[in-house]
C-alpha cells in the first residue's frame, strides 16, 4: 500500500532533472502504480530553470502538485532557494555540496552527495550524476523495486548509455548516506 509519495527534482536545464522524473515514473508504471510528473521549465533547453514534480501512488492521483515532498533533489542554489520552504523534517534533501549549501534554519534532513565528482571519477563523465542521485534516492526510499528502475533506464535512455547509467544507478545505491 502506497498512499502517496511526492518527489521534487529541480535544477538547471541539462542536469537530467526531467530524466530522473521520467525514470521514476516509468519504474512506477512498470510496478503497476500510478504516477504523475509535472514539468516546469524556462525557454532555454540548457542552463535554464527546470523542475519535475513526481507523485507516485497506488490509486489515481488527483492533485499532481508536490507540496509535502518526501525527497527533494536540489541541483542548483536557485532551485534550493525556491523550494526549501516546502520541505519539513520528514523530507530528505539530496544536494550537491559544491553547488548547494544547506540552510541551517531548515529542519529537513540534508544529504550532501558530490554526484558530479563521483560520476566524473568513476564513469569519466559528470553527466551521469543524475542517475547516481536516483540510485541514492532509490536505496533510501525503497518504494520502487530496483529491477523496475533498471528496466525503466533501458526504456527511457538511449541504448549507448545503458551500461554507464546502470553503473551510475548502482553507484548511487551503494553510496552510504
Amino acid at each position: 500500500m502506497v498512499a502517496r509519495i511526492e518527489i521534487l527534482i529541480s535544477g538547471f536545464g541539462g542536469q537530467g532533472v526531467v530524466r530522473i522524473g521520467q525514470i521514476l515514473g516509468q519504474a512506477a508504471v512498470n510496478q503497476g502504480l500510478y504516477t504523475t510528473m509535472l514539468i516546469s521549465h524556462g525557454t532555454e533547453t540548457r542552463g535554464g530553470y527546470v523542475r519535475s514534480q513526481v507523485v507516485i501512488s497506488d490509486a489515481f492521483i488527483d492533485s499532481p502538485v508536490v507540496e509535502n515532498p518526501a525527497y527533494f533533489c536540489a541541483f542548483s542554489p536557485i532551485a534550493y532557494g525556491m523550494f526549501k520552504h516546502l520541505c519539513n523534517r520528514q523530507t530528505v534533501i539530496l544536494h550537491n555540496p559544491n553547488l548547494v549549501t544547506a540552510d541551517p534554519a531548515s529542519d529537513a534532513c540534508h544529504r550532501a552527495i558530490a554526484g558530479e565528482t563521483l560520476a566524473e571519477r568513476e564513469l569519466g563523465n559528470a553527466q551521469y550524476a543524475n542517475v547516481i542521485y536516483l540510485g541514492v534516492l532509490s536505496a533510501h526510499c525503497g518504494l520502487l523495486v530496483p529491477e523496475h528502475i533498471v528496466t525503466a533506464i533501458r526504456q527511457r535512455l538511449p541504448e549507448r548509455s545503458h551500461e554507464n547509467n546502470i553503473r551510475a544507478f548502482e553507484l548511487g545505491r551503494e553510496y552510504t548516506l
Binding site: A28, T35, I39, S40, G42, T43, D62, S63, P64, V65
Partner: protein, 390 residues
C-alpha cells in the same frame, strides 16, 4: 489496455490517430511542439499527411482545406499561435468544416512564459473569430488520460456537428507525464465511452438544411454536392448571397445545431453537492485536480465543501450553478475569466469568489486556507494579488 507512461502530447497524438485523423498541419510551439513531432512520425504510418505550415493561420486553413477535401484534420498550438487562428477559425465555423484544434494554454499575454501553465483563453476559445452569430464547442482535459479521451471525442463531435472543436488543455496536461491506459481492442475503446465517427459525404445538391439538425454529412468537394464552400453567406444550395434572410437562417443553424443538441456535449464532474455544501469550488483543467484533493481533504475534517469540474467549457453549463451557494472559482490567471461566467450563471443570492494565479498550480493547502477564510467570513487577501472582485 496497454499501460504506459507518457505525456499529454503523446496522448493527444494517439487519440487523434485512433479517431481517424489523417491530416495534421501546424507550426511548432512550446508546450505543444511534441504533438507536431509525434504526428509527423505517426501519420505516415497510417497513410496520413503531415505538413508544417508557415504559420498558424496557414496551418488551420490547410486543415480546413483538407477537411473539405475529405480528410479528418487537426492542428495544435499554444496561446501565441491560437490567436492567429482567428481568420481560419471563422472559415471553419461558417463553412461548417469538421476540424480539431488543440490549444495548450501557457502564461500570456503574447509569448509570456513558455514552460508554465495558464488559463487565459477561456473566453478567446469561445470567440476565436469575429462577427458573432455562432456557438463553439470547447473541451478541457485535466489529465493525460483525459487528453486522450477528449481528443477522440473532439473528432466525433466535429464530424457530427460539422464544426471546429477545441481541446483546451494547459501546459501541465500536455508537458506532464502520467500513467496512460490505451485501449488495444475495439471493446476496450467502446468501454471508455468512445466512438469513431467516420467521414461521411454530403450527397447534395442541398448545402445544409436551415435547421438544428446534426449528423448531416459534411460537404466534401468533388462529390456532386453542387455546394460551394466560401466565406460568404450561403443559400440552401451553397451559393453566395448578401441576402439578410439567408444570413439569418445560416446564423440560426450555426447557433442552434449546437445549443439544441448540447446534451451530446455537456460534461462535468460534481463532488459532494448533495448536502448543501457551504462552499463549492469550481475549476477546469489541472487546477480542478487540486480542487478535488482539497474537497476530499476538507470533507475529512468535517467541512461541508463541494466541487464542480467543467469538462466541456462551451457551450457554458449554466445549469450547474442554479444552487444558491458560495462559489470559489480557481483559475490559472490573475484576471479571472471562468469566474465571470460563474457569476453570471449563479443563482440569485449566491456569493462568487475568485482564487487566481498564473504559471503555477495552487497547492491543496492554499485552497484549504482560502476555504477556511471564506467560512470565517474573512476577506480574501494574499500578497496584494488576490482580490475579492476581479
Amino acid at each position: 489496455m496497454k499501460r504506459i507512461f507518457d505525456t499529454g502530447n503523446a496522448a493527444i497524438t494517439e487519440g487523434a490517430i485512433r479517431a481517424g485523423c489523417n491530416l495534421f498541419a501546424g507550426y511548432p510551439i512550446t508546450p505543444a511542439t511534441e504533438i507536431a513531432e509525434n504526428m509527423s512520425r505517426r501519420l505516415p504510418q497510417v497513410g496520413g499527411y503531415y505538413l508544417q505550415a508557415e504559420d498558424e493561420n496557414a496551418a488551420l486553413h490547410i486543415c480546413n482545406g483538407g477537411s473539405i477535401g475529405g480528410l479528418k484534420a487537426m492542428t495544435a498550438t499554444s496561446g501565441p499561435g491560437f490567436i492567429l487562428f482567428a481568420d481560419a477559425f471563422g472559415w471553419a465555423v461558417s463553412s461548417e468544416v469538421p476540424v480539431v484544434i488543440v490549444n495548450s494554454q501557457r502564461v500570456g499575454p503574447v509569448s509570456g512564459i513558455t514552460g508554465a501553465p495558464g488559463q487565459g483563453e477561456f473566453y478567446l476559445s469561445r470567440y476565436l473569430t469575429h462577427g458573432g452569430n455562432y456557438e463553439t464547442i470547447v473541451l478541457a482535459p485535466a489529465s493525460v488520460q483525459e487528453a486522450y479521451r477528449l481528443t477522440v471525442r473532439a473528432f466525433a463531435l466535429a464530424e457530427r456537428f460539422r464544426t471546429p472543436v477545441i481541446v483546451l488543455a494547459d501546459q501541465m496536461v500536455t508537458d506532464g507525464w502520467e500513467t496512460l491506459e490505451l485501449p488495444e481492442t475495439d471493446d476496450e475503446f467502446a468501454a471508455l465511452g468512445l466512438e469513431v465517427v467516420p467521414r461521411r459525404i454530403n450527397p447534395g445538391p442541398e448545402f445544409y438544411p436551415a435547421s438544428d439538425e446534426i449528423d448531416v454529412p459534411p460537404v466534401v468537394l468533388g462529390h456532386n454536392t453542387g455546394a460551394a464552400c466560401s466565406d460568404w453567406t450561403p443559400t440552401d444550395r451553397g451559393h453566395d448571397t448578401e441576402d439578410i434572410t439567408w444570413q439569418h437562417k445560416h446564423a440560426w443553424r450555426l447557433i442552434h445545431k449546437i445549443v439544441n443538441n448540447r446534451q451530446l456535449i455537456d460534461e462535468a464532474d460534481e463532488w459532494f453537492l448533495d448536502d448543501d455544501p457551504e462552499i463549492i469550488l469550481v475549476g477546469y483543467g489541472t487546477p480542478s485536480r487540486v480542487i478535488r484533493s482539497a474537497v476530499g481533504e476538507a470533507r475529512k475534517s468535517g467541512l461541508k465543501v463541494g466541487g464542480i469540474r467543467l469538462i466541456s467549457l462551451w457551450p457554458f453549463q449554466s445549469h450547474l450553478f442554479t444552487r444558491t451557494a458560495c462559489y470559489l472559482v480557481v483559475e490559472l490567471n490573475w484576471d479571472g475569466q471562468l469566474v465571470r461566467e460563474v457569476e453570471r450563471a449563479a443563482a440569485d443570492g449566491s456569493n462568487v469568489h475568485f482564487w487566481g494565479r498564473c504559471g503555477e498550480l495552487p497547492s491543496m493547502a492554499e485552497l484549504l486556507d482560502t476555504v477556511r477564510q471564506l467560512l470565517d467570513n474573512e476577506p480574501l487577501q494574499r500578497d496584494g494579488w488576490r482580490t475579492e472582485k476581479w
